[in-house]
């Protein structure tokens, strides 16, 4: 995801964003989470200083070290100013000052930085916060996104994001959320919340077809970066973490092959599998292997196995639909969502039971409501009726689907199908 430096003055992609998260993590540990605003100010100052000096003097050899050093000096400055060493003897003042500097310096050691980042992730994904607030706060604080960028990535407006951020910050202040890595019986529960947020982040980037490609990829990359960070720490080094990470790798490997150059959608069966990123598939497989320790089978394990089935299969025709059906049955035991039901129905259709697939779709809870508001259920139903040769119902549901998607690519795809049905009818 990062490109090698082209020239000494070329910065690594998203350097500031990533450094922002790191610096906030260290600084909130020094100032306290309730002083998040103070930490943000110090980070902003460090960046402004870099903006002033780097263009004139070139990028330093170790830009992230430079930024950290600047933040550290400023932190020492602030703490020093708020202490009243000078009221006492100069000897004591000197000693206290030196000790303060050493204490603050400790927080900037590499392994401490990793710890701090994780503490910040746990704080932002606090279980008492609403899911949407967790996502916004994580993106702002840990990932260094601005409110406008978050809004663009989540396809909403900036005011909505500002409100979520405000709400989350108020909670952190009032309920005195502590920065710490949970332990004991608390840990698995807290990890689950973090997984959910990372999974949401990734899905927003992967599935939202309304925002632009670049910011969507940023979101996926960020979810993967944080998941990797989690997997590299002793508390996060868990089978479920690896399962989630492998799931992300498998999905991400297909990111570039899902759209044509004109942004029209390419269905799985038509995707050029040679374009799939083999390096990411390899990583996915590696993490999936790491996830197979222990006896807990999380939803991420099953979803990753499903994604692996597709990624490791050389062609669409050779897909092992029976095995996929088994995996979806397993998934349904843990996750009874309409999406899982729908995907299972699609597998049924591939096995040669489109009628059964249609029946199962009609059995989904609140399917009437879903058909009113969601394009995908209409599109799949239309497809299945089409396959059965029921042109009337096929056209009906495809027509339903049309106004429900904001994506031109999806609209074009449906229009093509409707045209094909009309053509078949007139012949």
């Amino acid at each position: 995801m990062q490109q090698p430096n082209a020239s000494p003055n070329q910065l690594v992609d998203h350097l500031f964003r990533h450094e922002s998260g790191k610096m906030i993590a260290v600084l909130t540990r020094i100032f306290g989470m309730h002083n998040l605003g103070m930490a943000e100010d110090v980070v902003q100052e460090a960046f402004l200083k870099a903006m002033q000096s780097w263009p004139f003097h070139g990028v330093p050899d170790n830009p992230s070290g430079w930024l950290m050093q600047t933040a550290r000096n400023r932190a020492i400055d602030i703490i020093r100013r708020q202490q009243h060493f000078r009221q006492y003897s100069s000897e004591l003042a000197q000693q206290l000052q030196e000790e303060t500097e050493i204490a603050i310096g400790q927080f900037f050691l590499d392994h401490e930085i990793a710890d701090s980042q994780l503490q910040l992730v746990f704080a932002c994904c606090h279980p008492s916060l609403k899911e949407e607030d967790q996502v916004a706060l994580t993106l702002k604080t840990v990932s260094g996104f601005g409110a406008g960028e978050i809004a663009r990535a989540l396809v909403t407006n900036e005011a909505v994001i500002q409100k979520r951020l405000y709400r989350a910050r108020q909670f952190i202040k009032e309920d005195k959320v502590q920065l710490q890595i949970p332990s004991g019986p608390q840990l698995p529960e807290r990890l689950e919340t973090v997984y959910t947020v990372l999974y949401l982040l990734f899905n927003e980037g992967y599935n939202s077809s309304k925002s632009d490609e670049l910011i969507r990829w940023d979101l996926c990359a960020e979810a993967m970066r944080l998941c990797l960070l989690l997997s590299e720490h002793k508390v996060g080094e868990q089978p479920s973490t690896f399962a989630l990470l492998s799931l992300m790798c498998f999905h991400a490997s297909r990111f570039g092959s899902r759209e044509n150059e004109d942004h029209s959608i390419i269905l799985l069966q038509h995707q050029d599998r040679r374009k799939w990123d083999q390096q990411l598939i390899g990583k996915g497989y590696q993490y999936l292997t790491l996830s197979s320790r222990g006896d807990h089978l999380s939803v991420y394990h099953i979803e990753s196995a499903i994604a692996a089935e597709h990624c490791l299969c050389e062609s669409f025709e050779k897909t092992n639909w029976e095995r996929l059906l088994g995996l979806y049955d397993l998934l349904l035991q843990q996750k009874q969502t309409p999406t899982v039901h729908l995907n299972r129905a699609i597998v049924l259709a591939h096995i040669g039971a489109p009628l059964k697939a249609i029946e199962e779709i009609w059995e989904i809870d609140d399917i009437d409501l879903l058909l009113e508001s969601q394009y995908i259920y209409n599109a799949v139903l239309g497809d299945l009726y089409n396959r059965l040769g029921d042109n009337m119902n096929a056209a009906k549901y495809l027509q339903h689907a049309l106004p429900l998607t904001g994506s031109h690519a999806e609209q074009r795809l449906i229009l093509e199908k409707i045209e094909a049905i009309k053509h078949a009818c007139s012949n």
Binding site: L11, F16, R17, E19, L48, P55, F56, G146, G148
Partner: protein, 113 residues
């Protein structure tokens, strides 16, 4: 070739820039600087701190905080570059990355005696 000074009057974005925006802006500055150096027309330049002192007074010079607290347009730095004419220098100044945040470049010819 004559020498010209670019005096940068800092702009100010209405909202604090995000890390990604700052990085993009910095990258533009670097690109501009690299370009001027590649063309061999960059002579020197420095960034200036925002704060400063103003020393003024006919009878007894007085030192006050400055430079110009009332003015939004703070000089943030300068370049000295080489160009054939003031028009060419002004053309070069169009590469300045901060127009989008209401920054401005004052272009002045260095006097030669």
């Amino acid at each position: 070739m004559k020498s010209f000074m670019f005096i940068f009057h800092n702009g100010q974005s209405p909202t604090p820039p995000t890390p990604e925006q700052m990085q993009a802006n910095m990258q533009q500055w670097m690109g501009w600087m690299d370009d001027l150096k590649a063309k061999n027309i960059y002579v020197s330049g420095e960034a200036l701190h925002a704060g400063g002192k103003l020393v003024k007074g006919a009878k007894k010079p007085l030192v006050t905080d400055g430079p110009f607290a009332e003015s939004k347009e703070i000089v943030g730095g300068y370049f000295v570059i080489k160009a054939a004419s003031i028009d060419e220098a002004a053309e070069i100044a169009k590469g300045y990355p901060d127009f989008g945040i209401n920054g401005a470049v004052e272009v002045r010819e260095v006097m030669v005696f």
